[in-house]
Amino acid sequence: MKPSKTWVIVVAVIVVLVGIRMSIGQGMARAYVERIDQSVEVKASDTHGASTEKWTEWHPVAPKKFEAAQKADPSQTKFAFSWANTIGLWLAAFFTLAIFSFLYRDNPGYRLAEAVIIGVSAAYWGVIGFWDTLVPKLFGALTPNLVHDQVLPSLPAPTNGQVVAMCFALALGLMLLMRLAPKGGWISLWPIAFIIGVTAGLKIVSHVESDLVAQSIATFKPLVQPIVSSESAQSGWMLWPTIWASFANILLVIGVLCCLTYFFFSVEHKGVAGRAARVGIMYLMITFGAAFGFTVMGRVALLAARIEFLFDDWLWLIDPAGKRIVEVASAIGSMLC
């Protein structure tokens, strides 16, 4: 079978199944909203008198609430069906399935999702950078009145230091943008050189402080441990807690030293150093194995969350959070009938 044919069949099967699901019981994938009337008293100031500002917001709400309100009063206007969020829900389900389809092979659905996410997320981060960094930091320091009057009334006034720093930042930024100018693009290397230098300088301090020194000190463990901490005694790990604790410390210290030996560059892995390095590699392999095992957990939880989304929010097959009125079991029953 040609790949394109495969996809036609897969999509057709999904469409049919979804169609069946939609016609059974309570249907699926609808979103509702609740009207919230905002009313805020505004105190009088120099520029305007006292007033009451009113506007309406629509917030998402569980289908259960809509159904209950509709039952009590069919003409209610507080809860409503939301086209925007329902379309969003279907779109989200489509994207979810499109990304999963990449596991089988590359296909137009995945390419579409990929194209969308690149465009959306690049702009998303640009917008975040503008509103969360440029506005409060750069404009907040250089044009404080504008920011204060338009966006963030309670942003504290900038200090002189901040103003100087932001002028400097702006200068660096402009040098960087010289790359776009027809001439003088070479100057964009200057801000990059500055950033690389700064990063190098700062990281020396932080790594030596919290990693090199702190981790070395943390390894100062007694190889003989006469006192047992209550914690390990409680959990009843070992028959002889003292011996156990000493044994654990010995293993730990040997491990740290052997792994360090593995990282020696100027010594060939031969003889004593070779043996120590080999023990070090063994420790590293155990470390990696443990990390791998731990990660599986996390990844499965993420997959579970996505599948829950499909089953719960989209297909309305399960309802762990009690968002809908109809009992799940009876819905399943009606589906089978």
Binding site: A113, L176, V213, I217, F220, V253, E268
Partner: protein, 432 residues
């Protein structure tokens, strides 16, 4: 059960010895702990403390020497016995120069500013630190105990304390020395190498494989994919990744292989372009440099991954290099690369991602090996020398660890001997 009462109660004296009588309008809840029966403190019929807690007996404040500047340590002595108080409130008041802020607020000396909060600490604490005080200004401090029943009287310092600014932060001296030591090792061997002392490093298979991988891509007529991590230029791994990119792209330029660098940060794109362009120039292939092959995709981690994996499946690069700071995307990239049969070489200092690179890539540079990659690849004697310096620093660290372990063991066997003191001394020297 909640009862409200207006109680006249005597409260202990403050540091100056003067007694004070306070009125407290208190709400008492049955939830309070049973306090000790103490003569001074009025109790209700259930034996619960119903008045405000006793004040601190004395308070002192002193400048912290060799601090980060403007730090004053305040310590006080709490009244004897337990109380129902939950926290201490520490406040400060600046000593003003003559004529400045005179007549501010009742109950304060003429030359004294208003009381402002320094800190609230749990009742078990007996000291607190006021930091970031303006240089060479003097302050009075006072402390108040607070319980659900009200506050004690205040205890004020007898004299003002001044937080002097120092030239150097004393607490960081050990750190300074540690950095100096490591730097000295590295610099010594760089200089030694420049003087012509032969430097040898062991073979690192992953780095030897880079040339082969580039060569293979050239033979197959396919591209090379280089991902410099997903973090920005303020991450040293990204910088290290770019130094490797400088070396790899030079090889690629010499072999005339196409290299593609998708980045997840605009700044990294710009820096990567500088590095690659200069490498092409150095290899005498400036004409072959294509800026659009180094492009920004998106800052979003998984948007970036969606692009790179899609691109891999479609373009099928012959060699994939992952050098920089990676998170969850490591395995997505490496597995996709594996499925298209590319040679994959990874390097990262992100220890949580090493297992996945180890499992799915052909070669992996682990932590420090990755950091050493640029020096190794360059083959320049002085860079190789710096690796030797690194080793010496590592040996010193190992010796210090062994020393610490010996002392700790001694301290555990003979807690009364000189060993515990020696251990503490060593930790102190290292700055803990």
């Amino acid at each position: 059960m909640i009862s409200s009462a207006l109680i006249l109660c005597a409260i202990s004296s403050d540091s100056s010895g003067a007694s004070d009588v306070g009125l407290a309008n208190t709400s008492i809840t049955a939830a309070g702990n049973k306090a000790d029966l103490r003569g001074k403190i009025p109790l209700n019929e259930l034996g619960q403390e119903i008045s405000a807690p006793p004040a601190a007996i004395s308070i002192s404040a002193e400048d912290v020497a060799w601090d980060a500047g403007g730090v004053i340590k305040i310590s006080w002595q709490p009244a004897a016995g337990t109380t129902s108080a939950t926290k201490w409130i520490i406040e400060r008041s600046e000593v003003l120069a003559a004529g400045q802020g005179a007549g501010q607020g009742a109950g304060q000396g003429a030359g004294q500013g208003p009381w402002t909060l320094v800190a609230e600490v749990p009742i078990a604490e007996t000291n607190a630190v006021a930091s970031k005080l303006p240089p060479d200004a003097s302050f009075f401090f006072r402390v108040t105990a607070v319980s659900p029943n009200g506050s004690s009287t205040v205890t004020t310092t007898k004299s003002a304390a001044t937080g002097h600014w120092n030239f150097f932060i004393g607490a960081k001296l050990p750190l300074f020395c540690a950095i100096l030591l490591v730097s000295a090792c590295v610099i010594y061997f760089i200089l030694a190498a420049r003087r012509g002392r032969p430097m040898k490093v062991r073979r690192i298979a992953a780095l030897e494989a880079i040339k082969d991988a580039v060569g293979r891509a050239t033979e197959m007529g396919r591209s090379i994919l280089f991902v410099p991590g997903i973090q920005d230029m303020d991450n040293i791994q990204t910088v290290a990744g770019l130094t490797v990119l400088g070396n790899v792209s030079r090889t690629a330029a010499e072999y005339d292989a196409a290299i593609e660098v998708p980045t997840s940060r605009s700044l990294v794109m710009e820096a990567a372009r500088e590095a690659v362009q200069a490498s092409y120039l150095a290899a005498g292939r400036a004409d072959a440099y294509n800026a659009d092959a180094i492009r920004y995709i998106t800052d979003e981690q998984f948007g970036f991954v969606a692009y790179v994996s899609g691109r891999m499946v479609r373009e099928k690069p012959a060699a994939c290099f992952y050098m920089g700071c990676f998170f969850a995307e490591s395995l997505i990239l490496a597995e996709t690369g594996n499925s298209i049969g590319a040679i994959q070489i990874a390097g990262t200092a992100e220890s949580s991602q090493l297992p996945f690179f180890v499992a799915a890539c052909d070669y992996t540079l682990i932590g420090e090996e990755f950091m050493a990659a640029s020096a190794y690849l360059s083959g320049e004697p002085d860079q190789i020398g710096s690796l030797k310096g690194q080793d010496v620093a590592k040996a010193i660290a190992a010796i210090i660890i062994i020393l610490g372990v010996v002392l700790a063991t001694g301290a555990a066997i003979a807690p009364q001997g000189a060993m515990p003191a020696a251990l503490e001394w060593l930790k102190g020297v290292l700055g803990s």
